[in-house]
Amino acid sequence: MLTGPAAVFFYFFSLIMVASAVMVVAVRNPVHSVLFLILTFFNAAALFLLAGAEFLAMILLIVYVGAVAILFLFVVMMLDVGFIELRRRSFKYMPIGVLIGFLLLAELIIIFLSSSFSSKFSAVVSAPIDMVTRSNTQALGDVLYTDYAFYFEVGGIILLVAMIGVIVLTLHHRTGIKRQSIAEQVSRTSETAIEIKKVESNKGI
């Protein structure tokens, strides 16, 4: 259990995080929705910092706020998706959604009250962080490229599949469009680029 100032900050960040997560779904304007999402990510990063995982916190900021959320923002602003219409239709399913959500929440609360975490797990969670000898980043790197190299590689292959998938499903090879060829541009000389014509006076070409 957290005590002292850490507890205060924990509840502060968690509260803002939950509130802004609710706002992501609740606000009318999709751009505001994305901005609240960014706020949620910031608070999650702060919680990681409190837990001593500064590397994960920074990665969360760089990857999620820096790339994913900005991409979302672009998509929301550039694409003409009928958000209002979508929202109106989703209201129809609201009661059943809320019901299932509450059921799940109640079940989870029952689980957490009735069962106790394994002692091994609690030992891992509450282990003191050895910040003096090596940093968090180093500790992650030490296992990621040795013990977890296999998982790392499989993760790489999954990303490769995602990349192939995106290209296969969206790339259209259009014929007859003019593409830039830098080699061709650079290798042009005045002989190939300019045509000199002798123009007689008082006549056009």
Partner: protein, 488 residues
């Protein structure tokens, strides 16, 4: 058991071969200027055949990368089955993808990568590699479902499969995290040990349920089957064949491994004293009963042959789970035998569906088969054999599959399961027999184009398998026994 890296790499050599092969073929396709689809497809077939031969010739066993992968005779057996069905699907797809205009070189590459995911799924040894392997396979399958992107139904199938699949992966991951929290382990041996020393807590039970939700989605067991008919109908037919054969083999193997090496060690006073089934058994029994019944009843109203195959596969997954309900080596053996027979029948049926094309293109309505026996007796006879086998008429292969799973259930005192299974198979016989009636006794409704030689070959092979299983089944039974023993 720690072994040095070189030994570990030889253990996973078939997987490495498929992975490197996929990357090399991808680069070849990208840098070749002409449409290299056919060459890449045949190279992919070659890679799969080499991997199969390697698995057959060099049986190995061991644990690789900590406890990420377990190589044993069960994984070897299932991998061979997956690879064979993947390469038959590739052979089947060559003509179809050309006439439907999605002959892109990425198609065989994605099939290879999905096969890689399946091979990893078959031999996973902890929850982390389970999730990664499942995602690798699923992600490739989502793309494959939508690969015919100019076709609206294919795109719809892809989106539907992706959204529901992502949701089920989330549930699975949550289950894994619950099990990790309450047992403190992610490797199968550790979780199994935690199960065997204490009574299950509520949190662990929820973990088991969530994991089963994710896995049942992959084998399309009721009530997680909703995507199956739509995706089967919308995806290009060779891709559907891939979903119905290789992907099902890998997912079944994954369920078998998770149950046998993790959940089966559950102890509880209730099981010992009151003789109630364990938690996982209750789930499996429910999934089996509902899959068998729903598949049998819902298939009656289907006139699209691919939707029909979807419901048929749901029923067959139910029969497979019946064999698994007991959780013994005999049960696993029956599951392995059933999976082999199921794959042979399914690939034969899909080869037949791919051969159903007339001048207007590929047809999918079962009434387009009218009077096939008059115009093409060879095809009609082979398909009739397959349908009789799916309806489990003795002495065809399908009968033996059910015989083994049902006798495993009866041996484990799950007699009601076997009874419901038999009732379901009687009901589902209706829609198989209806197709036979349409082919043999209805008016001729126009001819199909001549069947390509590779499809004829596949049909003939699976026909021979189905018809003469009674003679060589004894060897398959003993191989399955060896494979099943390695899990205990």
């Amino acid at each position: 058991m720690q072994t040095d890296l070189a030994t570990q790499l030889t253990l996973v050599f078939p997987e490495l071969l498929v992975a490197f092969g996929a990357v090399v073929l991808l680069l070849t396709g990208t840098f070749s200027r002409t449409n290299s689809y056919a060459a890449i497809a045949w190279l992919a077939v070659t890679i799969l055949v080499i991997a199969t031969v390697l698995l057959i010739v060099f049986p190995q066993s061991g644990v690789v990368f900590g406890n990420a992968l377990i190589i044993d005779s069960f994984s070897r057996f299932m991998k061979i089955l997956t690879l064979i069905s993947a390469f038959i699907v590739l052979v089947m797809s060559v003509g179809f993808s050309r006439s439907e205009k999605f002959d892109k070189f990425e198609f065989p590459v994605l099939i290879l990568l999905a096969t890689l995911g399946m091979m990893l799924m078959i031999s996973v040894g902890n929850m982390l590699s389970l999730y990664l392997a499942l995602e690798l396979q699923s992600l490739a399958l989502y793309v494959l479902a939508a690969i015919d992107r100019t076709n609206l139904r294919s795109a719809e199938a892809g989106v539907k499969y992706f959204v529901l699949g992502a949701f089920s992966s989330g549930v699975l991951l949550y289950g894994i995290s619950l099990l990790y929290g309450y047992t403190g382990h992610i490797d199968f041996a550790g979780i199994s040990k935690a199960f065997s020393i204490q009574e299950l807590q509520l949190g662990m039970i929820f973990g088991i349920i969530f994991i089963f939700v994710g896995l049942a989605f992959k084998i399309s067991a009721v009530p997680f089957h909703m995507w199956t008919p739509d995706v089967y109908e919308g995806a290009p037919t060779p891709v559907t064949a891939f979903f119905a054969s290789a992907s099902k083999v890998a997912s079944i193997a994954l369920i078998v491994r998770v149950i046998m090496s993790v959940f089966n060690s559950e102890i509880s006073a209730k099981i010992a004293i009151l003789q109630t089934p364990a938690v996982w058994q209750q789930i499996i029994i429910f999934l089996a009963l509902s899959s068998m019944l729903l598949g049998a009843f819902a298939g009656i109203g289907q006139y699209n042959i691919k939707r029909l195959m979807a419901y048929s596969s749901i029923t067959h997954m139910g029969y497979i789970l019946v064999g698994l309900a007991e959780g013994t080596s005999i049960g696993v053996q029956s599951v392995i035998i059933y999976v082999i027979i199921y794959v042979a029948m399914t690939l034969g049926c899909f080869a037949f569906i791919l051969a159903m094309n007339n001048r207007e293109g590929y047809v999918e309505n079962i009434y387009d088969l009218s009077g096939l026996a008059k115009s093409n007796p060879f095809m009609a006879t082979i398909m009739t054999l397959h349908l009789f086998s799916l309806a489990s008429i003795p002495p065809l292969a399908g009968f033996f599959g059910k015989w083994y799973t049902f006798s495993a259930a009866v041996g484990g005192n799950f007699v009601p399961l076997a009874v419901v299974g038999m009732l379901a198979s009687v009901i589902s016989a209706f829609y198989y027999l209806r197709m036979i009636k349409i082919m043999w006794f209805d008016e001729l409704r126009g001819n199909f184009l001549t069947t390509p030689i590779e499809l004829q070959l596949i049909l003939a092979l699976s026909g021979i398998f189905v018809l003469f299983y009674i003679f060589f089944g004894i060897w398959i039974t003993s191989w399955a026994e060896i494979a099943a023993r390695s899990l205990i």
